[in-house]
Structure formats: structure tokens, C-alpha cells
């Protein structure tokens, strides 16, 4: 029998398929597939107070991908805990809450509140601009990344997965810094910073000018980073970036990921998480893998 179980930082996922932050809504995605099929639901970023995000247009299409500049719109942690979490809790899947902030204090405030909530893990999105340090993202600098990890780790009473940005010279440096600072895992990659110009309107397509590139276009960069980080740290890795098929998921697992997230694929095909799960099972059966560990070890 093929087993899909995987233990991420002490939390047992029944399968390695999770939803990439910002591309899943329990109510709306749940209209297309059964949320109970997910290994974990990773929510969109939640901050200490409600954020409005950016004006529209927030979405632009790119070759084999898309750009988004949603700007982390969310109703804030209190509203999340009161209104969204109870609905999510009805399902038999693990709940991972993506956390965002503009200062370390803001992250900590959310982490503190989530520690008492009925969730399983937190995913800390450190791609947000650090407004205290000139707006450079927390994840772009190993010292800052370590600092924020340490502070959150010291107050969070759930596992914390640090979500890394790919827009750095050396991702292994950041991964090693957050591991040393106590991260229980890392997830990678977030979006690549990109831009699209409408040459007829003579302006960027996105209101915000720049946005995050996601989708199959970025997969080779993501696979490379998962491969590098796997060889640099020993904590669990959630791999993502352009996964469209079960074969893609297997590629991330083989590169060293313990679990995977499905993002843009779910916007392009709303049933993608379940389809990819089934394709992964088929891949495992046809190629003689009985569990995920065997895929992960195939190339080590």
C-alpha cells in the first residue's frame, strides 16, 4: 500500500499536498473539491490588524505564469480567528496559518494570538517589507531573518515554518540562519519579483507597478532552491513554485521537499490540489514507491 503520510515538525499530514498561501479560500475552493482531501490547508497571510492591500489591477498574466500584487489584503487576526477559523476547523485537514507583518512586533502579536487558537502550525511569510529597516524584506538578509525567527520562536507555542523569498543571492544562507534561530521548517519559494508593462497604455499593468511572479515559469528556480536548501539544512521543507502535475510534485519531493504546496495551479484549474494528489499516487504506484521518504531519498 502506498502511504502518503508525512511528519512536518511534529504535525502528521495525511498527505503532502497543501495549498499555497494566498491561493485558497475554504469556502470558494471548497465549491470545487473536498477540502478533507488536503494534507493541510495553508491560509492566506494574516496580520495583526486588517490590511487593505493594493488597489486593482492586482493581477497580470505572464508567459506560463502570472503576476500578483494583492498586497496581502486580509481581515486581521481577530476576524480570522472568529470568522474564518471555525469554518476551516470543520474539515479533517491540518491548518497552517500564514503570518505577515511590517515589524517584528506585528508578527509576534499574530503568533501570540495563534498560539491559543485551534491551528496546527504557522507559516511565517518573511517576504514582507520590513518598514523599520527601510522597507527591505525580512527574508532578504540572514541577520534579519534570524532575528525575526528567534523572536517569533520565543513566543509561538506551535511549530513555525519560515517561508523564504527567492529574491536573494544565496537562499541557503537564509535557510541556515533561520534553522539556527530555531525555525521548525522552511517553505520555499515565494514569488519572484517581476513586472509587466502594457506598451499600449504606456504603464505597468499592475497598479502597484511590480508584483510577484508565480506558476510553471518559476518551477526550475524553485526546484533548484529546494535542492540547495535540502543540502544545507535538516529541518523539513515545504516545496512550492509552479507545481502543476503529480510529476512536478514528485520532482520537488525528489529535490528534497517533505511536502508541497499548490498555488497558481489552483487558480488555473480549481481542482488542481486533488488532481495532483491523485497523479502523485499514480506516479508512486507506477514507479514502485511505497512512501514519500523513498522519493525524497531517491537522489540523495
Amino acid at each position: 500500500m502506498t502511504s502518503l503520510n508525512v511528519n512536518i515538525a511534529g504535525v502528521m499530514l495525511k498527505n503532502p499536498i497543501t495549498t499555497a498561501s494566498g491561493t485558497f479560500s475554504a469556502r470558494d475552493s471548497g465549491a470545487f473539491y473536498d477540502i478533507n482531501e488536503l494534507g493541510a490547508a495553508i491560509t492566506k497571510g494574516v496580520s495583526n490588524v486588517p490590511w487593505d492591500g493594493n488597489p486593482t489591477p492586482r493581477i497580470a498574466e505572464a508567459y506560463g505564469g502570472m503576476l500578483n500584487a494583492v498586497g496581502l489584503q486580509n481581515p486581521g487576526i481577530d476576524d480570522f480567528i472568529n470568522n474564518e477559523l471555525p469554518f476551516l476547523r470543520k474539515f479533517d485537514t491540518k491548518i497552517v496559518v500564514n503570518v505577515v507583518g511590517k515589524t517584528i512586533n506585528e508578527y509576534c502579536e499574530v503568533a501570540e494570538k495563534l498560539s491559543d487558537a485551534a491551528i496546527d502550525m504557522m507559516e511565517i511569510n518573511i517576504s514582507c517589507p520590513n518598514i523599520k529597516e527601510g522597507g527591505i524584506s525580512f527574508g532578504a538578509n540572514p541577520v534579519m531573518a534570524a532575528k525575526i525567527t528567534k523572536e517569533i520562536r520565543s513566543i509561538a507555542r506551535k511549530p513555525i515554518i519560515m517561508k523564504l523569498t527567492p529574491n536573494v543571492t544565496d537562499i541557503t544562507e537564509i535557510a541556515k540562519a533561520v534553522e539556527a534561530a530555531g525555525a521548525d521548517g522552511v517553505s520555499l519559494i515565494n514569488t519572484l519579483l517581476g513586472m509587466k508593462i502594457d506598451v499600449y497604455q504606456k504603464k505597468p499593468v499592475l497598479w502597484n507597478g511590480m508584483g510577484g511572479l508565480s506558476g510553471p515559469a518559476i518551477k526550475p528556480v524553485a526546484v533548484r532552491m529546494v535542492y540547495q536548501v535540502r543540502r544545507a539544512v535538516s529541518i523539513p521543507i515545504i516545496g512550492l513554485g509552479g507545481i502543476m502535475t503529480g510529476e512536478d510534485a514528485a520532482e520537488f519531493l525528489m529535490a528534497g521537499a517533505d511536502a508541497v504546496s499548490i498555488g497558481t495551479a489552483a487558480l488555473v484549474d480549481p481542482t488542481a490540489p486533488v488532481r495532483i494528489k491523485n497523479e502523485l499516487i499514480e506516479f508512486m504506484e507506477q514507479n514502485g514507491y511505497r512512501n514519500l521518504r523513498q522519493i525524497r531519498d531517491a537522489m540523495l
Binding site: 479560500s25 470558494d28 486593482t56 492586482r58 493581477i59 510553471p216
Partner: protein, 275 residues
């Protein structure tokens, strides 16, 4: 509501005006529970373009669904290239359409007029809307003396769907901006200069038109439902790409709603128009 991605067979895909196409497909999963104002996602075969194209359902008939769309870019160009007999991947109905209940609940008494206002491609969903209003009138036993449906539509240059509107509306007023046909001007000018009055408005078109007409309604205390458009990612509520600012009833508190899944139809007085 369970939603699905389905493969629908094309029955027709024909240019009916300059760059404007009528596409009819066999899709009972869509037609059987249609509410006017809803849209569907059309997914492309071209693998360089991943995002679906949202298109309003113009009308349904038995097990078929008709879309009216304009070729404006690469995606709609691909859609226009599909041939009858081919199969298109589309979603089942998305979003919340016009609230017909609300219209009839509000319109008491006699000689009431419902005005369907459309600009450009915004005219497309008015066909299905008008037909559904007629059905609803019948169900409620409301004669033309009690409720009349009129259409007020504007175009840049070439009018579309006038005949279809005429078949189901009491009267159709139309304008073209450059004056090639009909009234010369925009929809608002058309309304003003013809002194068109109605007791309920239902509108679909470019944002400036919607803003202007919603403003008029606001001033005169008349109800209006508007169908908004916003650049979309997923089209079903997962990406939060397509928001519009709304006001919570009776408060000054604003809330960002998703055009695709909370809308695309909103009450005019709910929308914060100023940005």
C-alpha cells in the same frame, strides 16, 4: 453550490459585429440553474496563457448557453478561433447575478418601469436578464400595465444585440458616441435628453457609466443593481485579485469585496464609487 470545470461542445462561434462574437455551447450544467449576471470562466488551450477569461452568460436556452464577447487581446483572439464541434473548457456559473426577488419586492403599485442600462459589451447579459424578468413577471402574474421593461444602451460606434433586446423589452433606446447610428452621445445623455424615467435600474457596462447612473439613482432615491468588472485571476474567489470597495449598510465602514464571488452584481448604494 458545487462548481465544476466542464468540457462544453460548441454549437456556434460567429462574428456578429466588428470583432464581436456570439458563442453558443451545449452546457446543461450551466443552463439549468442560470441567474442573469453570472459569468463563466473560459479556459484556453494556449499553454502560454494560464488564466481563464471571465465572460458573462448572455442568455441560455434549454441546454445551451450563449456568450457575447469582443476580441480585445490575445485570449479573446484564441477564443474566437474555436470552431463549432470543438470542445471548450469552461467553469459552471460563477458569481452572484442580479437579485430579481429584490426588484419585484420593491416595485409596488402600477405602471412601474424597470430600466436595463448597458454600455458596450455590458449589453450582453441584459438579454438573459430581460428574458428572466419577463418569466418572473409571468410567474407573479404581472401584466405590462403593472411592470414595463425598457432598455437603454450605448455603444462607441456599432450597436449590437438591438434586435434581441427589442424582442424582450418594451422599448429600446440606444446611442452611439460618434453618432453613426441612433442618438449621438453616451447613455447618460441619452437618458437625460429623452427624460427617461424608471423605478428600478439594472446596469452593466464601463465603470464611469455605472458610477454616473448610480449617482443619479442615489440622488433620486431609486434602486439600482450594477454588474462590475475587474481584472481577475481565478474568477472563483481564491486569489483576492478582483476586489471592489463597498460600504457596509448604514455605516461609514468600508469593506473590500471580491467581484468574482461576492459580485459581480452589487447594489449601487453598496459600492464606494470614488476611487
Amino acid at each position: 453550490m458545487i462548481k465544476k470545470i466542464i468540457a462544453a461542445e460548441l454549437i456556434e462561434n460567429k462574428e456578429i459585429a466588428d470583432k464581436v462574437y456570439r458563442m453558443t455551447m451545449k452546457a446543461p450544467q450551466i443552463s439549468e440553474s442560470f441567474c442573469p449576471g453570472q459569468f463563466i470562466n473560459v479556459y484556453l488551450n494556449d499553454k502560454s496563457m494560464l488564466l481563464p477569461r471571465p465572460l458573462s452568460i448572455s442568455s441560455v436556452c434549454e441546454d445551451t448557453v450563449t456568450l457575447i464577447y469582443k476580441v480585445v487581446g490575445k485570449g479573446t483572439r484564441k477564443i474566437a478561433a474555436y470552431c463549432p464541434g470543438e470542445v471548450v473548457r469552461v467553469s459552471t456559473s460563477l458569481g452572484n447575478g442580479f437579485r430579481l426577488e429584490d426588484v419585484f419586492n420593491e416595485l409596488g403599485g402600477n405602471s412601474k418601469v424597470i430600466a436595463l442600462v448597458g454600455g458596450g459589451m455590458g449589453v450582453a447579459p441584459l438579454i438573459g436578464l430581460a428574458r428572466m424578468l419577463i418569466k418572473e413577471k409571468k410567474v407573479r402574474g404581472l401584466s405590462d400595465e403593472v411592470v414595463q421593461i425598457i432598455a437603454v444602451v450605448g455603444f462607441y460606434e456599432e450597436p449590437i444585440l438591438l434586435e434581441a433586446l427589442e424582442e424582450c423589452c418594451h422599448r429600446v433606446y440606444f446611442a452611439t458616441e460618434n453618432g453613426t447610428e441612433g442618438f449621438k452621445g453616451n447613455v447618460i445623455q441619452l437618458i437625460e435628453q429623452n427624460d427617461i424615467r424608471a423605478d428600478y435600474y439594472m446596469a452593466c457596462g464601463p465603470k464611469p457609466m455605472l458610477r454616473a447612473i448610480a449617482g443619479r439613482c442615489e440622488n433620486t432615491g431609486i434602486s439600482i443593481q450594477v454588474s462590475l468588472e475587474e481584472r481577475m485571476g481565478c474568477g472563483y474567489g481564491a486569489c483576492v485579485g478582483c476586489v471592489c470597495k463597498t460600504r457596509e449598510k448604514g455605516t461609514s465602514k468600508t469593506k473590500l469585496k471580491k467581484v468574482c464571488s461576492d459580485g459581480p452584481v452589487f447594489f449601487g448604494n453598496e459600492v464606494v464609487w470614488d476611487d
